[in-house]
Symmetry: D2
């Protein structure tokens, strides 16, 4: 069975828009936090440590698809459950499910890649095959 991690988020006043509900890009911010939280819970160091040893600077997003089912507001706590559905050679599909108690708030599937800086031009980044040691920790 795939490893699953969870991350609790307390929704704040400033996360909400004039309609009084969470402004949806905040969910993506939290799911990005949940993505790294998944790796760190599996034993992978944060990117700023990994950059020094492997050159990896993060896992940029190539594609994602999200459903927003119910709205939420501040003073509420939501939980993000995160797993990896599929490991390809270079990309992986990470899935997040956001709930508030029994309510489903949001589901998202993200396609991400591990990236390093281009040694010829440090301002460019490029995808690398998923490192074996990271696979071993996370699968």
């Amino acid at each position: 069975m795939n490893k699953t991690t969870t991350l609790d988020i307390d929704i704040r006043f400033g996360d909400c828009d004039p309609a009084g509900i969470v402004f949806f890009p905040r969910y993506h911010r939290w799911m990005d936090a949940a993505s790294l939280h998944f790796f760190m819970t599996c034993g992978v160091p944060p990117w700023h440590v990994l950059e020094g040893t492997t050159g990896i600077i993060g896992t940029p997003l190539l594609h994602h698809e999200a459903n927003f089912t119910k709205s939420a507001t501040y003073g509420e706590r939501i939980t993000i459950s995160t797993t990896v559905d599929e490991w390809r050679t270079k990309a992986f599909i990470q899935r997040h499910t956001i709930t508030r108690g029994d309510d489903l708030i949001c589901e998202s599937r993200e396609t991400r890649v591990f990236c390093v800086r281009d040694p010829q031009d440090r301002k460019r980044i490029r995808a690398i095959p998923i490192p074996e040691d990271i696979l071993r920790l996370c699968r």
Copy 2:
């Protein structure tokens, strides 16, 4: 032909993450701005005006799917082109294409609905059929 509006965004230092590229939830923030910009360019008042006359508080997102093709960084200007691909009874499909000169940065399709507050419980919101006068302005 469908109406298309454009919105230029100057990318700022604070829009970028430790990898030096735009943190992807920022793109959704900008596409949300482009969504309202589309309606306002078509002649629809901002929601805080519309709320007083029609009760409409905004166009929450039900679903979206986005492709991220190239990265971008601060000091660069990007352009968001926005159109509505489909008007249904209650929902509409809004499409955003983000470019930097000839480079395609991101494409996204959003399913949104017009919402009002529930008169019985002002903390709840619910979707309404797309108003005829808004359709006339935007189609």
Copy 3:
């Protein structure tokens, strides 16, 4: 002695800028969360509840002054300690101290007021004297 509440924040990748450190407006976002957390811990309901009973929509900022002493990055946990130094008729001075273990990261003093919507023009807001029941809970 004044009541003090604490709020822990786990710093995320997306909270950091291209220099790899927390982008400073994020600290203000967290201190705003700590401000409401103070009131809710003292027993004051969140604003969206209070708006229905008292009309109070929040505690906008009039003035603040902040010192940033050390930088912080993602993967680290910081703690915000919050207290009210002074209660005036309409305004109050709220002080936040952000630490990471023994390191002092930031100190800020905020002048805030309780606000309601103007009944003549709901888009305008105005300050009110601090309600007695809130004072009793928080002092």
Copy 4:
């Protein structure tokens, strides 16, 4: 007379909080953009270019003090006027004034320093004396 630059900001729905007004940390985000805009308008390259030539990674904030006079909301345009009041050996005082037409919205004074990475430990940053060529461009 000191050089002054201006930056226009169109306020967006997502910049506003449940009270319907700009969430104040957004002003700091915009003033941070105005800070770099000042340097780039004076002819200083963006930090990601400067890092390659001089090692400078940005101008972190040491201290700031801000007054918020009136609120603003989406659909409005504000203008940030930015100047440097004082150049010290290592620090400089940058002042931002935010207006909406004749209305004063916010004033802020920021103390900032130019920083480079510590060559012994690239995760640490330290302040350097303000480079002469930057002073010549900006004073």
